[in-house]
Symmetry: C2
Subunit: 374 residues, 2 copies
């Protein structure tokens, strides 16, 4: 099988369309995930090497994709969903000539493998299930593989469009000369497009509006300093890096107009799972009267999860804290508590910015209403 | 001049006296600062090398001491006060044969140099001024140098005693099976004795009481992971390391009975300057109904500073965040906001634990009353 890969169809740096603007950034946001040129691989920026090296790697099968997701070469809830969807299509393309029973069993196992690569983000399971779901409607295996490639491409293109819509909705919440704080990376590197939390920032800059971003470095893996600061600086947007513990001081000094973060999963009641540290920022924002916004595509809302208490929280390796920089920064065997995510109760969330509009409390009815119009 | 250095007089590891206890820790707390064996130098553990290497270095003049304070080889408000007091005596000992005018001028310049090594901690200026102050009462330069050595030794021994008293007072605030959170390092490595915030922990362990410490790693320089986790583990005390951003989750889960931190300066109204991140923890503690304690010797209270707004906050080099571990973890030239300290308003402080008792709000009168009994 050799699916058609039109370079205008999600495989290319279509970008957010800055051309012609007077304050055009120095460069466009990076492309976190796309098809490899020949269509038989998933091309990603290896985010573990940033900011020292900007290197693209091509993932050639599902095991490669799982390894890349687990090791955070590709990360961010939307981006790992896209990569996993593409990875499923790539893997099944390698086995298009298998006997039907073998093909079906491999599809089942690969779907399960990809879904389990990380437990917290809901987009991952959603994207893989959606991609696998197209198989039953087609007559043969070659068609099935082609349909999965097309579905993965649709997920990528929809994500790009969702990012833009989130950006346009989020822009409505940003004052002139906005100074905002974001945590972790919910930017272009986390999605197929211009990001979720950073989408309004890119659009504000593209519209010639002044905007300043404080990026918290986000220990232990420093996605704020390694990724957010990198992609914003690369795009010519004002960014100031802080250690995570500096956020409270900035708020007390009145230097933060709003906090905006992404989400890995949003429960039916509006509780938000996101990078560890998000909950603390929400409490600090509440204390200082700073609006706290969550930006995410509607695919991040998991109506099957009633509240944040039902969201599984991944715990990562202690050495990410003890030896995070290739150097021992703690006693070698000291106990470490290393949740990768935390849950912010919906009561601390001022609004949830989605591609389909801005949700306000009470979130239960707002999310239910969103579902009813799908 | 060759001052007498009685090894029982502050130059030795007298330790906190754990001997004979059933739950004796594996080792005693480390000695952060003491006289070099020959009395002509200041012997410190180079804390920039911990936890990889435990190496003692001998500082031989005031410039050495200033460099060691600036580069954080010796740190912690009490310990830098002691090191600077000793450094003044050592420096003047090298110039005991100078002409009187030269000696006096060198004393003035060295005092100013040492006082200016770091701007925020009040103990530094206090200890240097106190040590220089003994000179006017003695008839000749040799006597002056000897008197300064003795005064520096007194400061060390008093600090050791203050730590013990803070520990005993703090112990009154600790429930059985206490699980507490501390930030940065206010332990033995920060003082001449068993620490300030950690003093009650050492005494609880010595008394056979169960105690568990969560140590926040304290970006950017990781005093929590490199120093607090190291000294507690070395002493056989249960410690769990967390990234700074994990504290809020622990509090929400009810796993923190109390927060206890040190202080670099306490204003006359009870506002507390301490390591960056302290203020955020105080807000989080308040939100979760967790008591927030500050432990410090009375020498940390600066009655000449009316409120926290009057405390100068040192700003450190951006590369401590961008290249903190010898590796580039952010864009090389990205802007960074790097305050070394923050100010916690007294309204968020449940109690201040001093060597002379536990202060409770309102702190203005409590601090004034403390002064009146000196």
């Amino acid at each position: 099988v050799n699916p058609t890969h039109d370079r205008s169809d999600g495989h290319n740096a279509a970008g957010p369309g800055y051309a012609g603007n007077a304050r055009v950034p120095a460069a466009e946001p990076p492309i976190a995930v796309r098809w490899a040129d020949d269509g038989t691989g998933v091309d990603i920026i290896d985010q573990t090497l940033l900011p020292e090296f900007e290197r693209r790697v091509s993932l050639r099968n599902a095991d490669d994709v799982v390894e890349a997701i687990r090791s955070l070469r590709v990360r961010g809830a939307p981006a790992i969903g896209i990569a996993a969807a593409m990875g499923l299509a790539v893997e099944m393309g390698r086995h298009v000539a298998d006997r039907p029973a073998t093909f079906t069993e491999r599809l089942r196992r690969t779907t399960a493998l990809l879904r389990a690569a990380r437990p917290t983000a809901t987009n991952l399971a959603w994207a893989v299930t959606r991609t696998a779901g197209v198989v039953s409607a087609v007559p043969d295996q070659a068609e099935a593989v082609r349909a999965m490639h097309e579905e993965a491409t649709r997920i990528l293109l929809e994500d790009r469009q969702m990012c833009r819509m989130i950006g346009e909705n989020g822009l409505l919440l940003m004052p002139d000369n906005a100074s905002l704080l974001t945590h972790c990376n919910a930017g272009a590197l986390a999605t197929g497009g211009i990001g979720t939390a950073l989408a309004p920032v890119y659009l504000a800059a593209a519209a010639g509006r002044s905007v300043h971003v404080y990026a918290s470095e986000t220990r232990p893996l420093l996605q704020g300093s390694r990724l957010t600061a990198w992609e914003l600086e690369r795009a010519g947007i004002d960014v100031t890096l802080i250690a995570d513990s500096v956020a409270a001081v900035l708020m007390a000094q009145g230097r933060i107009d709003l906090v905006i973060v992404g989400a890995d999963r949003i429960a039916a009641n509006g509780d938000v799972a996101n990078k560890i540290g998000t909950y603390g920022l929400a409490v600090l924002a509440s204390h200082h009267g700073v609006p706290f916004y969550v930006a995410a595509p509607t695919s991040t809302i998991d109506r099957a999860t009633a509240t944040g208490a039902d969201i599984p929280i991944e715990v990562r390796d202690a050495d990410e804290v003890r030896r995070g920089f290739g150097r021992l920064t703690a006693p070698a065997n000291v106990a470490v508590f290393t949740p990768a995510f935390d849950v912010t109760p919906s009561a601390l969330v001022t609004a949830i910015v989605t591609d389909r509009g801005i949700l306000r409390p009470p979130y239960g009815p707002a999310i239910a209403a969103l579902a009813s119009v799908v």
